[in-house]
Amino acid sequence: MTAQARSTRPLATLALGLLAGLALGPAPAAAQRAESCIGISMEVTGPLANQGLMLRIAIETALDRINGAGGVLGRPLRLVIYDDVGEPARAVDNARRIGERDNCVVMFGGARTPNAIALREPLAEMGLPWIGAISAGTGVIEHPNGRNEWMFRVSMKDRWVTEYLVQQAKARSQNGKIAFVYEGTAWGQGALPDIEAAARRNGVALAGRETFNIGDQDMSAQMIRLRDAGVDTVVLWAVDRESANMLRSMDRIGWKPKIVSAWGLTTAFARAVGPLADGIMVAGTFNWNGPLSPEAQAALDAMKAKFPDRIRTTADLEQPSAMANAWDAIFILAEALKIAGAYDRTKLRDAMFRVNYTGIVADYRPAFIRGNQERMDAVLPEAYKLQAFHNGMLMPIEATPYGMRN
């Protein structure tokens, strides 16, 4: 070995080391110890503020119970809330604050699917686990690159919901003429291909597809077309206000088809339209008006006690399924932290796949499956239930007088 060779060896080693370092990239923030806080970006103000409030009620009450029993790993879990007003750009900004400034161990999401989708890359960059309890868009969990590692959901999934709704509509339609009515938003338009695929799989030829814009006050034209096409069952994909206006349009023309809806409809809708809402079926994961397990009853009592001005009866739980989802999500998180043994984001992410937990919505065994992004969703279609409006309340359909069964 020449002297020159000897002298260049350390340089070559250094260069190789640098290259390796560049290839591996900087040490992820996830490797750092995180704070015992849950950062949440949700709709505190704006048109969806009621959904944000319902999430906050469920999450804060669940945290009270956990912290009252000593917290997790000897520390209380703290909640840090940021308002995104339902806007994706603000959600991304909030995620950066939660992940980088607050250094929280986990982030929770709000109601809107576009916000959650906007977080896919920032969360992966920061190595920040995220848990959603509402935003049901398929793409939130099933990423186009097939490599979702950080986003978990304890909620419904639109692709599964569309299949479920089509099956329910088919079972309830008398003449087989089923139509899809959806709002002209990313959420509504995103569901159209899923509904069409589900209809094909279930041997249903959709008799109509109608849409409307947010803020529309009259849908008579769409309803006349569907009525004249002989439709007897509508699969609805919309939120409260426009759905109420759609019902008014149906009422004007004297048409009352069966309606099987995604979970955009809340008790606020029933309060706004009164008896017109009776009998409308809504897919969900949980109903607080049915027989409750001791755990669910305790959750309800705790929410009433903590928010006595806001939650007086079950009718005040405007997002019944989402609140139950959020309740379970907090306890799944606590279980995962115990398994992780440290406030460490990567360890927490890995531990999420080892959680087995019996919640109020479902028996999560396991909650998530590693390497299968479809199963980064904890609530499976088996847990979906149809509910129906009756006297302004969203009831289990078996508890309504309309002779319907799940």
């Binding site: 034209a221 023309i253 004297g254 606020a268």
Partner: protein
């Protein structure tokens, strides 16, 4: 035929709302050569305040009157605080920004105080529709064209037969000259904005039982009311009424026979084309200034 009947009925109802909001723009413009760009929020206040008043146990009619009065006062206050200080010089445009800003504040405050959920505005006239074959309309919706005709006629009489109305016309014609003959132009403008606010709020109260009251209900209506005022020629009240009703009816036929999703795109394209062909609006007259 049922469909045509339905489109005519609902178009007439929706168009009457556009026309009443458009008349509000007309009243503001003729007095101040400025408008409240977020006038849709005054429309919204009419419905929301009625619900709030009913929550306090006040019956529907007094609640509606109270809401209209409060909204009119709010509209006048907007003129005093957010239009007048920014409309002192020729060609001033600061009021555009300030009225948009105050509208946003009103909407945010309403969301915070009233809630983000829409709420029903109970009215016995919106409980069951009148059916005409396979078409139908709520009696509440029939109130809208009736109210529109009364408002249009009332405005005409007000402008021609009352001292205050004549003073408004004088201010609209020449603000400086009106001042020289002893008319307090600022006061007249304040009253005009209040009057416009009352019209907008009344439209909100009348349609509220059918479409529910919510903090965001005024955005699109305000925009379309402004649009019909521009299409008509904002200084022509009769034109605004005709354009509003025609626009509402044409929207329903577009929804029925062309495309629901493209309704607004087609409507706004139509507006641009009309303005290209008639820069002063369909019923507007070219302003001639002697120099």
């Amino acid at each position: 035929m049922e469909a045509v009947t339905q489109y005519l009925l609902t178009g007439l109802s929706v168009g009457s709302v556009y026309a009443m909001v458009g008349l509000g723009f007309y009243v503001m413009w003729t007095a101040a050569k400025a408008v409240n760009f977020n006038f849709g929020d005054i429309f919204m206040l009419g419905a929301v305040l009625t619900v709030v008043a009913m929550d306090q146990g006040i019956p529907l009619l007094p609640a509606a009157v109270l809401a209209v009065v409060v909204a009119a006062i709010a509209a006048a206050a907007i003129e005093r605080g957010f239009v007048r200080p920014f409309n002192q010089e020729a060609n001033a445009i600061g009021w555009m920004l300030t009225t948009i800003a105050v509208g946003t504040m009103i909407e945010s405050a309403t969301t915070a105080l009233f809630g983000s959920n829409p709420r029903g505005l109970p009215s016995p006239l919106a409980e069951s529709p009148i059916r005409l074959g396979g078409a139908g309309i709520y009696p509440q919706e029939l109130l809208l064209p009736v109210a529109l005709v009364l408002v249009a006629v009332g405005l005409e009489l007000f402008y021609r037969r009352t001292m205050l109305g004549r003073a408004m016309r004088a201010v609209a014609w020449n603000r400086t000259a009106a001042g020289l003959v002893g008319i307090d132009a600022d006061r007249i403008t304040l009253i005009a904005f209040g009057l416009a606010g009352g019209l907008g709020a009344m439209a909100g109260v009348l349609i509220g039982p059918v479409v529910q009251a919510s903090s965001t209900m005024g955005g699109v209506i305000g925009l379309k009311g402004f649009m019909v005022a521009i299409i008509a020629g904002i200084a022509n009240a009769r034109g605004v009424v005709i354009a509003g009703v025609l626009y509402g009816v044409s929207e329903k036929f577009i929804e029925g026979y062309l495309s629901t999703a493209a309704r607004d795109a087609i409507g706004f394209t139509l507006m641009v084309l009309l303005l290209l062909l008639f820069p002063q609006g369909l019923f507007g007259r070219k302003e001639i200034k002697k120099v």
